[in-house]
Symmetry: C2
Subunit: 300 residues, 2 copies
């Protein structure tokens, strides 16, 4: 039985965990994201203490970003232009490798969650899937032929452009780069600002906010189907905790596709095509185990 | 030197050709697309006559569609729900295989063009690219890790939804499925209907049609970058023959991305990132040779 270390690195906290090759979490710790000089020694200490007793085979990182995933790049394994102070140009992989001397797997948080779901969650048995998170931001990661979708850099689907009916929804959007891109219109903070509430999930059932949210996410899912043609779409994140929203998104996706994509998975079985994460809140950290597992085969 | 047969199968004509493993076209014939009982015997005859003298190693097909690409499906190799009369549920691969007994490669017309460009055109040296065609319809095919983007079915990016400013462009769009999807707003027939002209390329330089066209295609390219993150985007098709349009599309793409995707290929070198087809009008037929080549390794 191999043991893996996993890090789900976010802008607020790092979840550090130990898992096995069934995706089971054996131990976990939460470390606040402050600055690298403070956060990283705690992260390293967590893994060193465990590794001294029960050796780890590899460590995987699902990281906030943007990150450099180009193995041939001199800044491979770096967080590149992070908005989070102190983490800009931080050599994440290099720092861990120097301290622990283990194979390190590294990817974006959403690509990590995607591979976690593919390995042990609701994406088991498919070789292409897209994992979306709709929360403080909107992001998505993808897998094709069992491999992460890397190309030039990595997907940033949360910032794609969708139809915005400015007559019925004059809200300008909150994305500092794009205004009314998907994240600008449909992230948690967009809902809070548009409707003047402290938390999106507090908006009551039947509030027009949810119809609008389902519409924007429905456009995004329809575009995702017609661009990547994944075998499965998984949607997690804080905003998706709103009861009934997932079903509304499925219905809008079908409405927008309008029978154009003729496949039973969509036409007959949308409830099993667009689904919630099978690993709940653990997609990211389990994904980090899966990245560790991959790193054993293609060491970085 | 291997010899390949290639078929670029469209709704108007079939281009049948013989090529070698440098992508060179040695012989070609045009056969009208009428009904399978008329068209296919001519296609088969073309290849049989050549094969009898100089044996072909395999045949590739870049086909209009939609098509069934699932090798495990009982209707693999079929044109499925073609709008073209007579071709609905036509067993394209099976018919050719029965007549010629050669390995047959089969994919969509745009996936074929994508692999043609990757093998011998402007996509040489990259392992992810998207090929767009903007003409009678809008379509796109993609390659990742050197393999076609197949998932549930295949990409249908021409039908994705983009922002449509109905105040400044009240045109409802012509897509029978989606109204104002990308194809509904920006295909050749959409331009003809919106502006009342017989051919899109006849619209004069400086006409507002071209600003609008560049805007819609710019949204599509920005979404493509942020969804698939390809290393290269190639745009062909009849509408793109309009001089200056490609450059306008590049500029709109940069404007919409607004420095969010920080990679030199986009920020510093967009002229080499979004490009015209290196094979000109031959991307599809050369792509068929590349599909034939693939079929030798993974026989269907």
């Amino acid at each position: 039985m191999q043991l893996y270390g996993g890090i789900e690195a976010g802008g607020t906290k790092f979840v550090c965990a130990i898992g096995d090759n069934t995706g089971k979490i054996l131990e976990r710790a939460r470390i606040d994201t402050t600055v690298p000089e403070d956060t990283m020694p705690k992260v390293i200490d967590f893994f060193q203490q465990i590794h001294a007793k029960t050796p780890l085979a590899a460590i995987g990182i699902s990281s906030f970003g943007p990150v450099d995933l180009d193995i041939k790049s001199p800044t491979y394994g770096y967080i590149t232009t992070a908005p989070k102070s102190g983490w800009d140009q931080f050599d994440f992989v290099g720092t861990l490798k120097a301290a622990l001397n283990l194979p390190i797997g590294f990817d974006t948080d959403v690509n990590g969650a995607a591979i976690g779901e593919a390995r042990w969650g609701n994406g088991k048995g498919v070789d292409s899937l897209v994992y979306w998170t709709v929360g403080t931001g909107i992001g998505a990661g993808g897998i094709l032929y069992g491999k992460m979708m890397h190309g030039l850099i990595h997907p940033e689907m949360g910032h794609t452009f969708i139809p915005h009916d400015t007559v019925h929804d004059p809200f300008a959007g909150i994305c500092p780069f794009h205004g009314d891109c998907l994240e600008g219109l449909a992230s948690g903070p967009a809902l809070m600002e548009r409707w003047g509430v402290k938390s999106a999930v507090d908006l009551p059932d039947g509030h027009e906010a949810w119809d609008l949210e389902a519409k924007y996410l429905g456009y995004a899912m329809a575009n995702c189907v017609m661009t990547i043609s994944p075998q499965k779409i998984i949607i997690g994140g804080g905003v998706m905790q709103k009861k009934g929203l997932l079903q509304m998104v499925r219905e809008k996706t079908l409405e927008f596709l309008n029978n154009y994509i003729k496949h039973d998975s969509i036409l007959e079985d949308i409830d099993n095509y667009i689904v919630a994460p099978g690993l709940g809140h653990n997609s990211g950290v389990c994904g980090a185990f899966a990245l560790a597992e991959q790193a054993l085969h293609v060491p970085s």
